[in-house]
Symmetry: C2
Subunit: 218 residues, 2 copies
């Protein structure tokens, strides 16, 4: 009852369930949550200062996207992916990302490449500072910046759910291959973009995607 007084309804703010959803989404996608980590309705609700209802909606939405897994008893945890599933998701990335890159290539201009270059440097810095979350974030941002130019919202949306599903294990991947230099294929991607070479771009994207994830198998 008191809480209803606090609401500043003058400014149209997004609904509470959406705020919770977005907050959890970036945490999952950036690997801030350990695989197998349990999330409770009341815990989320308390953390975001809301009741159980919007928390439940956010969790339901995230589980629908595969970002979280639902146990038989209704408990929600961040997924622990098997190698088979990781390989599947990598394959999906390898199918979608070259297509998105190719579509973006036709619309790419110099400012876009510059922006990607800047993001790539931030990515290199994250590696130098051994910051897994920043590494994952900038890496995804590098790819997303390109794909946004593809003007293919359905394909990008689907790809983002794949990224979401990989999120929690991304961090484990990062620590496992102990990067000390920037992903080598990012440079190839940029070169293909500058040259306007569709085939080279598709290949660079495919290898960048599969290479990083295949190391997790061993």
């Amino acid at each position: 009852m008191v809480e209803t007084l606090i609401r500043p309804s003058v400014t149209s703010e997004p609904p509470a369930h959406d705020r919770v959803y977005r907050g959890l989404r970036v945490q999952v996608m950036h690997g801030e949550l350990t695989p197998g980590q349990a999330l409770t309705l009341r815990g989320i609700a308390r953390e975001y200062g809301v009741s159980m209802t919007p928390a439940r909606e956010a969790l339901r939405r995230l589980t629908a996207e595969g970002a979280l897994t639902l146990s038989a008893s209704g408990r929600v945890t961040t997924p622990e992916l098997t190698n088979d599933r990781i390989e599947e998701l990598a394959q999906i990335r390898a199918l979608l990302e070259p297509e998105l890159g190719s579509r973006a290539l036709r619309r790419a201009h110099l400012a876009l490449i510059d922006r990607m270059e800047a993001i790539n440097e931030a990515n290199a810095r994250a590696i130098h500072l051994q910051n897994p979350v920043d590494y994952i974030r900038t890496n995804l941002e590098f790819h997303r910046t390109l794909y946004l130019r593809a003007q293919s919202p359905a394909m990008l949306g689907l790809l983002e759910t794949v990224w979401l599903q990989l999120g929690p294990t991304m961090r484990a991947l990062y620590t496992k291959l102990r990067r000390t230099t920037a992903p080598p294929h990012h440079r190839l991607i940029l070169e293909a973009l500058r040259a306007g070479d569709d085939a080279a771009l598709r290949l660079a994207l495919r290898t960048d995607v599969t290479q990083g994830l295949r190391h997790l198998q061993g």
Copy 2:
């Protein structure tokens, strides 16, 4: 403790929100709902004999999968797809389905092909009877039966959300091209399966997928 592991849940039924979700899901995927149709929380709740809470969860889940669209005011309707979006979704199908078919090919056996043949005949009957819902249902079942053999749950799951997004417009597509005979490529798919010809199967699947949807563009 042992008893709890066995989970003799003969009496325990699936949660209400899941029942609602599944019911609406098949309606959407089979094209039983026309594009732009509005769904209300209280309407769904009354229809399934539950309260608003599980109805909300089901709708939230379906919108997260792209099966339903959310207006700015929170209203939920079945999506009205633009031609661009349809083409995108067709392209995704064209990428995923040949891959799934190829994976299934290695595991395919005669009983599977027989089953697909039977489904295809049911599909032909639905066309003869001018029954759009049965046509869509059997058509999807034909493909799903094959892809289940691929043992690639992540890829199949993603594909099913694409089918979901196309659901409502599938019916419009059906009435537009006024089929009188079974899809010609289903036969090519079956032949490629019998021959164990991977390249032919990939091509047959790709054309089956794109051909049907490309007619909607005109």
